[in-house]
């Protein structure tokens, strides 16, 4: 396949080509009723074409926007391509977003057609209907529970296809002409940024924006049409559009969708994908699962696991340092491959994986090393929504947990004032939709994108990211520190779910820690520690002691001024519905700082107890206040504090108004 020639085309043009040249090859697979169902490239094209005709019959025109809401489902992909066939724009949105968030994006994007996965999503859209003046048509994929819905604007996917075929018979060649009229620089997609700082912004990406980085990446990593990929990350994430649409259609490999979010682990194992992409959170969770299962295994198995894990990490360290691996370690490693590493990879579903990536946020070095040590070729990639996803990757022989690799061919990176990383690439977006002023703020006059990340370029030419440029802070004595770096160190502990670190303009560094309920729960079980609820568990002095030990371990590796001196165990998890983290699970540090301002003042005021009034949001968007008194503790010599009782803990949230 001639990649460069294919770059001057649009996604629908490439899709049509794929159907003509390799129509019978598998394009998409989804697991339905327990069986993997295949759609080949011909099916993909025909369904997209017929749906496009259905849209045309409903009055959808060039430049109109279509949103999909739901898990990864073939029909949602058909719908996005169908919109692009007609010169329209796909606007995937996060399916777990609460109503107000969703309303903002759909209204801002002026979406006229919504394709919803099921009743849950349809209900959500109907509840927002009055706030969406541009909405004309809602199409659903799964008809279950929707039989008796009587709304004039609601249609089933089948009905749209039927309508499309009828329209196609009356207007032969309609879609083909529309596709031919498309140009590679037309906007194909609005990707709404997760917005760690503000309201979501819609990055406009053209066909070329998506295809060029995809092509360069495929070449750098020698990806081919024989790849097998499982797409289970939200459709609204730019990485999904890049890999599961642009790269998928460009190379023509097979993309699979899991049965349900809960079955991802099993589906991975059944499929044995050859490539994978996941945010750090996924790898952290996977490692936690492995450790929990190892801890629960029989003593013999547990010892084997621990021994061979040490061997693997030792060998990996030697390799990273460029030293030869002594024969006895090499031999032990071979045994480990048969007894431990291979079986673990098999259980995790990565046995056939040639290469897997982590991106979106930094991954703790220890998590990273663990996966590499057991033979998973895990590499860091770096990118941004405004860059259509990707701009750097680590070459196979230069993998290193501290960098995000080399800038891809045809792209450039430079370090501007304040260590901010700037990138120039063909993937740079066409601007934020309806926000030209904000667009100007992120683009330099000579066409570079300000990523907002602080970083440097090392001797080898690798790009390394330290933190968000504006988050890098200084404690009172002038020592600079990167909060994210400390948080990642903390999060390597299997007991720490999330952590937020403060200290800019303060005398010392302090942390708010949210524990991982599954591992701390197991730990409590093993230590016969009785508890009633998550909140109760968080408030146990023993748990505070556990977290303190973890922080001490982490502190041992840090220079004294940036060590964490005080901490607090939060009695809830950070939640995207409460705006504390983004839908892609990045901490919104500024928001957290505001929300927990009283707690933070308490840290520095030296109080051993702080009152927390946190607003929490239920999944349906209702809000309530959580009032509780939390104990904060000193990391060193804080024994006295751990015994202080936690008073007035209100287990049941009381309504806000």
């Amino acid at each position: 396949m001639n990649a460069s020639r294919r770059l001057d085309r649009t996604l629908p043009q490439l899709l049509r080509d794929n159907a003509e040249t390799g129509g019978s090859r598998a394009a998409l697979r989804e697991k339905d009723r327990g069986i993997w169902q295949t759609y080949n490239w011909k099916d993909y094209w025909e369904q997209s074409r017929d749906f496009a005709l259905g849209l045309a019959a409903a009055g959808f025109k060039r430049g109109d926007k279509l949103s999909v809401i739901g898990e990864n489902r073939p029909r949602l992909y058909f719908a996005q391509l169908a919109a692009q066939c007609l010169g329209g724009i796909a606007v995937p949105v996060y399916q777990d977003a609460i109503a107000t968030e969703l309303a903002y994006v759909l209204d801002h994007a002026e979406t006229s057609v919504i394709v919803a996965e099921d009743q849950e999503q349809v209900d959500k859209v109907i509840s927002l209907q009055t706030r969406l003046p541009h909405l004309k048509l809602v199409v659903y994929d799964d008809p279950r529970g929707l039989l008796n819905y009587d709304y004039p604007f609601l249609k089933s996917f089948e009905a749209m296809l039927q309508q499309g075929r009828a329209f196609g018979a009356a207007h032969p060649g309609y879609v083909e002409n529309e596709i031919d009229a498309g140009a590679p620089d037309d906007v194909a997609l609005f990707s709404y940024t997760s917005g760690t700082t503000s309201r979501p912004k819609g990055a406009m990406l053209s066909h070329r924006n998506l295809l060029v980085p995809a092509a360069v990446f495929a070449e750098a990593e020698a990806l081919t049409a024989s790849e097998n990929h499982l797409a289970y990350l939200p459709m609204a994430w730019v990485g999904t559009s890049l890999v599961s649409i642009a790269l998928h259609i460009l190379l023509g490999f097979t993309c699979n969708f899991p049965e349900k979010p809960e079955t991802v682990q099993r589906d991975l194992r059944e499929l044995g994908p050859t490539i994978g992409l996941a945010p750090p959170r996924f790898w952290e969770n996977t490692l936690t699962q492995v450790l929990v299962r190892a801890a629960d295994a029989s003593p013999l198995k547990r010892r084997l696991f621990e021994y061979f894990r040490r061997v693997a990490e030792q060998a990996e360290q030697l390799k990273a340092d460029g030293k030869p691996v002594p024969p006895h370690i090499a031999l032990a490693r071979m045994c480990g491959e048969i007894l431990v590493y291979g079986p673990i990879r098999d259980q995790l579903g990565w046995r056939r994986a040639r290469v897997v990536y982590t991106g979106g946020a930094p991954l703790g070095a220890d998590v990273f090393k663990f996966f590499r040590a057991i033979g998973v070729n895990l590499k860091q990639v770096y990118g941004a929504t405004e860059l259509s996803g990707l701009c750097s990757v680590q070459p196979d022989k230069e993998v290193d947990p501290d960098t995000v690799g080399r800038i891809l061919a045809g792209m450039e990176a430079r370090i501007a004032d304040g260590d901010e990383v700037e990138i120039r690439s063909a993937g740079i977006f066409k601007g934020y939709y309806k926000q030209p002023e904000v667009t100007q703020e992120v683009l330099t006059e000579d066409g570079w994108l300000k990523t907002g990340d602080a970083g440097f370029i090392d001797r080898r030419g690798h790009l390394a990211i330290i933190d968000r440029a504006k988050d890098v802070g200084r404690v009172d004595d002038g020592t600079s520190f990167a909060p994210q770096y400390l948080e990642n160190k903390l999060k390597f502990s299997q007991y720490v779910g999330e952590a937020v670190v403060f200290g800019d303009g303060r005398p010392f560094v302090a942390a708010i820690v949210a524990i991982d309920p599954s591992t701390v729960g197991k730990w409590a079980e093993r230590n016969s520690l009785a508890y009633t609820s998550f909140q109760d568990l968080c408030a146990r002095p023993e748990v505070m002691g556990l977290v303190r030990d973890e922080i001490r371990k982490c502190n041992a590796l840090l220079p004294p001024p940036t060590r964490i001196r005080r901490f607090l165990v939060l009695n809830k998890e950070f939640d995207a519905d409460d705006d504390e983290i983004t839908r892609t699970r990045k901490i919104r540090r500024r928001f957290v700082a505001e929300k927990y301002a009283a707690v933070i003042d308490g840290f520095y005021g030296g109080a051993s107890e702080v009152e927390l009034n946190a607003e929490i949001t239920y999944e349906d968007g209702r809000k309530a206040m959580l009032r509780s008194v939390l104990a904060s503790g000193d990391v060193e010599g804080g024994e006295a504090v751990t015994t202080s009782a936690v008073r007035g803990l209100a287990p049941a949230p009381v309504p806000a108004e």
Partner: protein
């Protein structure tokens, strides 16, 4: 409750008014205890009927008589024009009446899938010999039944638990598996004994949604015993109230709520109808 918003009880189902199950004057005594006395209930095809009442009112005994676990001392039970008063449980199951139990009755050592396949048993035709050889007919049959089981797994969103042992599942999930097994019978009439007992609000809403979906999608008639009044009032077409073995009221949820006898049975004292909180 969330599901009340888009759906009213009257807009649902295909209740044609034709009576599918007619229970007439049934009584049941255990020694000196009159568990059920002269109770009559008529359930139209495709409707959702609720039976409510205080503890010991005879609700479960009535359900046990319909499903053939008890034989009524007097009275008759007619299902689809057939007299099933004296029929045994397997015959009744064969006619298309399925049930779930108040205290979950699953096979703990078997997987979710196996428990559901077990529910298909009365619909299986091939005998021991042909099943043993597993060829042709038996194989095709197995595949068809498995397909139906998978439909139910999909319907009740049990995909990730397919191969899990049921004993290891949480209570709410086991209740859902039991519902799946009852549905595996392809029942015309589904008897649910406290399907939401011991559940939290979210789990209750889920189950209520499934019950409405079953009724809508397959037109299955449903009789349920339930204590949560909010749920009963939201999803049922008709409500019968039992107290100490007797039926004391019957009607639409709104009618029953206004009935002074019901208020008395529930609150134990005489209240003016207007005083009662919903």
């Amino acid at each position: 409750m969330a599901f009340g918003a888009t759906q009213s009880a009257t807009a649902r189902g295909d209740s044609s008014g034709e009576i599918q199950l007619a229970v007439t004057g049934v009584s049941k005594r255990f020694g000196g205890v009159r568990a059920v006395e002269d109770v009559s209930i008529a359930v139209p095809r495709g409707s959702i009927a609720a039976i409510i009442g205080p503890n010991g009112a005879g609700k479960t005994s009535l359900l046990n008589m319909i499903s053939g676990f008890y034989r009524p001392d007097t009275g008759s039970i007619i299902f689809d024009g057939r007299d099933i008063t004296r029929a045994r449980p397997p015959e009744i199951a064969g006619l298309g009446i399925a049930r779930t139990f108040q205290n979950i009755a699953l096979f703990g050592g078997m997987t979710v899938l196996d428990n559901i396949m077990l529910g298909r048993h009365v619909r299986m035709k091939s005998g021991v010999l042909s099943s043993f050889i597993y060829w042709g007919l038996a194989q095709r049959e197995e595949v068809a039944h498995r397909a139906r089981a998978e439909e139910l797994i999909d319907f009740l969103e049990l995909q990730d638990l397919r191969k899990q042992q049921t004993s290891a599942l949480a209570y709410g999930l086991r209740k859902r598996v039991e519902l799946a097994r009852a549905l595996a019978l392809d029942p015309e009439l589904l008897l649910l004994d406290e399907p939401m007992g011991g559940m939290n609000q979210e789990e209750k809403e889920d189950i209520a949604r499934y019950i409405i979906d079953v009724n809508e999608q397959w037109g299955t008639t449903i009789i349920l015993i339930e204590h949560d009044m909010a749920v009963v009032m939201d999803i049922s077409d008709q409500v019968s109230v039992l107290d100490r073995g007797r039926k004391i009221a019957e009607g639409t949820p709104a009618e029953v709520q206004r009935n002074p006898d019901v208020v008395h049975a529930y609150l134990g004292a005489h209240h003016e109808p207007g005083e009662r909180a919903a």
